[in-house]
Symmetry: C2
Subunit: 356 residues, 2 copies
DNA sequence: CGATTCATAGCAAACGTTTGCCAAAAACCG
DNA sequence: CGGTTTTTGGCAAACGTTTGCTATGAATCG
């Protein structure tokens, strides 16, 4: 029974299932079944129980249930510690979309930051192995692994988002980065551009590899050599987008044979690049065309409005959740590992025919 | 014992405390104490147990512990469903800061979206009354309340952030909105401005009230009438910031006696306003000065770079967590209810002396 | 009408910890 | 060296559910 002893300092614990049972005049197990298994109990008894529960303001204890059934209803999202700042709204969008989908499925979302330190890895592993979470969606390239325990071997369903990890067996939801940027490059080629500046993210990064490959593919197809594109950046993290853009503008200024079009791998880079370039007296798009990646809403209000490749975060989030839940339910439909959601180039005024 | 029966289809559950106990040759209760209460057990036994635990890769089950001790280690953050999009990084910053502080205190962060529908309220209440969460940080103005149950009466420590709810008894962490914007207005007055346009958020909103009051206070102190400021907007949510800015630009164009300075209550508004104003042929800051609120990093790269009031989210998050944890620990230091973290105006080139 | 099924409800044993209480052993003291 | 305190370890009872099994009564059928 509810042990509200009215003793000051005692933690109050709300009404228990036993209280509901007593009030409804049935056994505790019947209450349990009435609340969870609507079919298993007589409609009349069920109504009596529902009424009693409502009257008492009964809410079942999630941990007790979790312990008993051996499952939690919490999903964790593993975010790299540094994914924040800039202009992009990817993270909030992802969180919102995922949370919404999860809740519809009866799950809750827990945030876990994966930094470079061992403590954060250990923490995530504790969450996984300690039964706190039921599954994970990761936006990080490496899986936590520390003294013997690895997230991969925790027996949890895992889905990777944004990064393609299908090669290590993880269901992944990604966009067609490569293709999207290839088409953007094609558009620039079509406008007459022949020399490009590419603002790179971290060298080894999946996205950077994919995106640069997209540029190269477009150049090849147009019969241009790889030397038609100059790389700038490649050392700093995407979090440093603004700084990458600034540095790239300086690189540009120092360049002999000037490119006429810039392909930036994030909106942050593009925005700060434009800002500095314009303060050097160059005009966009007259002197220089520019296109970037991320689809930040603010791009529409840059001067000039910035062409950017928009990633459908809403849809990606939904897909990731769908994959995860189907893995949880062992709905062993042979889901494909690599799920591609198409990105979309939003064309704005930052692209034009080159001057010369 | 670990019941890995090697039966296909059985959920694997990792090693149990009983397994560790057996391996170490002690009782299960000793293991529990060794792991949690380092003092209560002989150092030698403790080492033996630690070794056994590590060898087995043992991780204690969080739900079992939670059930037993009657407490969870999860904190939920209640976000209004619409706080996303735009240019501001407040939400990600808040999440990161809060999560970091929480983890240091041994807690985890769960996300809860509070929309306008009853379902989301019910969901949050279930989390609270079902014992899933131990406390809440809310960024929303109303507390969920549905058929009898109210978040306020869930017996959970709650801290409000960004919105001052100290008047209803909730410890709150806020910035000095009013003062900050008063000073910004003062700066504009000092530059010689005498007519202002104010871009408002939703009318009844706490922030809008505070911020507008700040403007008025500054005007009064300078001996100007309230009519020196024209309001625009006031109907749409902050989420609609870009649209508010656009509409305000049109309002401005239609105005007879033109203001020379604009005070925007979010960066989004300011950015889209500037964009449209400039496309009308007006120069900023020559024809029109502008200052806004939020401290979005991207403001530094607008043209011209935008003056904005930066809210110290990192510090606010830390403070909110500190308040919450001290409430949980019943460290009944009579913490003050209203905690103000000072915002800071970042002056950039969008402010200048008026032309005439 | 007796035998067999079916629907419904109850008992009690889990789930994996923590912790109050007691016993044994060790340490200390006069 | 006996008695007293202190340390250490173990037993078993919680925590609040779910669920397999069983018992009861009602319903069905031959």
């Amino acid at each position: 029974m509810s042990k509200n002893k009215d003793v000051l300092g005692e933690e109050q614990s709300g009404p228990l299932m036993a209280d509901v049972a007593k009030l409804a005049g049935v056994a505790i197990s019947t209450v349990s079944r009435a609340l969870a298994n609507p079919g298993r109990v007589n409609e009349k008894t069920r109504q009596k129980i529902d009424a009693a529960a409502k009257q008492l303001g009964y809410t079942p204890n999630a941990m007790a249930r979790g312990l008993r059934v051996g499952k939690s209803n919490i999903i964790m999202i593993v975010l790299p510690g540094s994914l924040y700042y800039g202009a992009s709204q990817v993270i909030p969008q992802v969180l919102q979309s995922i949370n919404k989908s999860l809740i519809q499925g009866g799950y809750n979302l827990m945030i876990a930051n994966l930094d470079r330190d061992e403590a954060s890895e250990r923490h995530i592993l504790d969450l996984a192995f300690g039964g706190t979470v039921r599954g994970a969606i990761i936006l990080s390239s490496k899986l936590p692994e520390v003294d013997g325990r690895s997230l991969a071997s925790a027996g949890l369903p895992i889905v990777s988002m944004l990064l393609d990890m299908s090669e290590v067996g993880l269901p992944s939801v990604v966009t067609n980065d490569r293709e999207a940027i290839r088409e953007a490059t094609n558009d620039l080629l079509g406008l007459g551009h022949r020399r490009f500046l590419y603002l790179a993210g971290p060298q080894e990064n999946y996205h950077d590899v994919e995106r640069f490959a997209g540029v190269i593919e477009a150049l090849r197809a147009a019969g241009l050599p790889e030397s038609a594109v100059v790389r700038s950046g490649g050392l700093l993290d995407y979090q440093q987008g603004f700084n990458i853009g600034l540095a790239a503008a300086d690189d540009f200024a120092a360049l002999g044979d000037k490119p006429t079009a810039v392909i930036a791998t994030s909106d942050d880079m593009a925005i700060s690049f434009m800002s500095r370039i314009q303060s050097m007296g160059l005009k966009i798009p007259e002197d220089l065309s520019i296109v970037s990646f991320d689809g930040s809403p603010v791009c529409a209000f840059c001067s000039p409005p910035l062409s950017t490749i928009e990633q459908p975060m809403e849809e990606m989030g939904q897909t990731a959740v769908a994959l995860l839940l189907s893995a949880i339910d062992r709905t062993d439909e042979p889901r494909q590992l690599r799920n591609v959601i198409r990105s979309r180039l939003i064309v704005r005024e930052s692209m034009a025919t080159p001057k010369v």
